[in-house]
Symmetry: C2
Subunit: 69 residues, 2 copies
Amino acid sequence: MEKKTLKVEGMTCGHCKSAVTNALTELEGVKNVTVHLETGTVDVEVDESKVSESEMCEAIEEQGYDVKA
Amino acid sequence: MEKKTLKVEGMTCGHCKSAVTNALTELEGVKNVTVHLETGTVDVEVDESKVSESEMCEAIEEQGYDVKA
């Protein structure tokens, strides 16, 4: 598992936090998702043999947020 | 039915809008709930013989928002 931090725009409240956390946690190979609303960042532990960064981005974008490169 | 506008603090996004809209719509005697995020206001149509203002406030507060007097 590798630690990564994603920059995500538009998360404002506890509901946003849950939406992003759940969407990422549902992906195989993603664990220990922590959303930081203040900084607009999401810490994850990723097994890169099971999930790609673009799959994670897609999951977040499906919830209505933008991932910054 | 009487039109009322409630002032609600802390609503920031579409999820908040849904949470407040659903909580109020579930009350008997409340109809046509419209949340305005920009102004922090909620327009409702109320049948005051069926629901009190304090019941509406309670429903909103249960969702984690503050109603201003």
